[in-house]
């Protein structure tokens, strides 16, 4: 029963493996942040494709919400690595810039 969705799932799993390698090996902080963000995207895609693979495309909503959450999470992590504080004040920003 390998159809096009099966192939897409397999490709996604391979991509996930490669992202995983980068996140474990990644020498800098930003490699890892990018790996997490990209892994989140892969998760979104996997859930979407899996919905079609199992014949229930209603998982698509879940994939959308995951995408939003992934975005917000990455923004939060980036802000944190930059300012070391989530409620970063504006004058701090000016100081660093």
């Amino acid at each position: 029963m390998i159809d096009q969705f099966g192939v897409a799932t397999a490709a996604l799993l391979v991509c996930m493996a490669m992202t995983l390698i980068r996140s474990i090996a990644g020498p800098t902080v930003f490699d890892r942040i990018l790996a997490v963000n990209s892994f989140g995207t892969k998760t979104v895609l996997l859930i979407a494709v899996y919905g079609f693979l199992s014949g229930r495309p209603d998982f698509l909503d879940l994939a959308l919400v995951y995408a939003l959450m992934n975005f917000i999470g990455t923004i939060a992590v980036m802000k944190f690595t930059r300012f070391g504080d989530l409620a970063g004040m504006e004058e701090d920003e000016e100081e660093i810039l």
């Binding site: 029963m1 995983l20 474990i24 902080v29 879940l62 999470g73």
Partner: protein, 194 residues
């Protein structure tokens, strides 16, 4: 195909877990824990536990990563060398506990078994009586808001209290202060602030 997905995802989980243990850089470990949560979330989705997957993604990949990073900013981001040598006693304890847990799963009903007790304990009763008792067409709403009304009420109270507490702890006062100051600045020099 579905079994293959399960096996691959579980393999990823094991690889990440070992990597988290081996890494000395705690920031990398936190990032890997985020990936771990995303993976478990997709695994839960594949296993049809969509609501659990949702909570895992929000709490595991979202909030706890941030909390861990906040902790790291207060401490150092290198693991101390104190516990580097292997601890055979701890390993034996973990292995024994794991073996006991695996042994306990043999008694559980098979995955996806429709005759499992959890599907017949009270659910049949609810499905039969829900029209006469409540008359709400959505069964989940009826159970949450009526059969388990007090339970839901308590849960919302707990979550609200926790949310208020976290907002106070995270410096809500400072944000209010900042907004107030920004407003003052805008009114003074006509919107050229920031």
């Amino acid at each position: 195909m579905i079994d293959v997905i399960h096996i691959v995802l579980f393999t990823f989980l094991a690889v990440i877990a070992i990597a988290i243990i081996r890494l000395r850089d705690l920031f990398a470990a936190v990032m890997l824990m985020g990936i771990f949560s995303l993976l478990s979330a997709s695994l839960f989705t594949v296993m049809d536990a969509v609501d659990v997957a949702f909570t895992e993604a929000a709490v595991g990949a979202g909030i706890s990563t941030i909390l861990m990073l906040a902790t790291l900013s207060l401490t150092t981001s290198k693991e101390s060398r104190l516990y580097q040598r292997p601890q055979p006693l701890a390993l034996i304890a973990v292995l024994l506990t794991g073996a006991a847990l695996v042994y306990a799963t043999f008694d559980m009903p098979r995955y996806g078994d429709p005759a499992a007790p959890i599907h017949h304990h009270v659910a049949d009763d609810y499905i039969e009586r829900i029209d006469d008792d409540i008359g709400v067409p959505n069964m989940v709403t009826a159970i949450l808001a009526s059969y388990r009304g007090y339970d839901t009420w308590g849960e919302t109270t707990v979550i609200f209290t926790a949310g208020v507490g976290v907002m106070l702890l995270l410096g809500g006062g400072r944000t209010v202060y900042r907004i107030r100051r920004r407003k003052d600045g805008r009114s003074e020099d006509g919107g050229s602030a920031s």
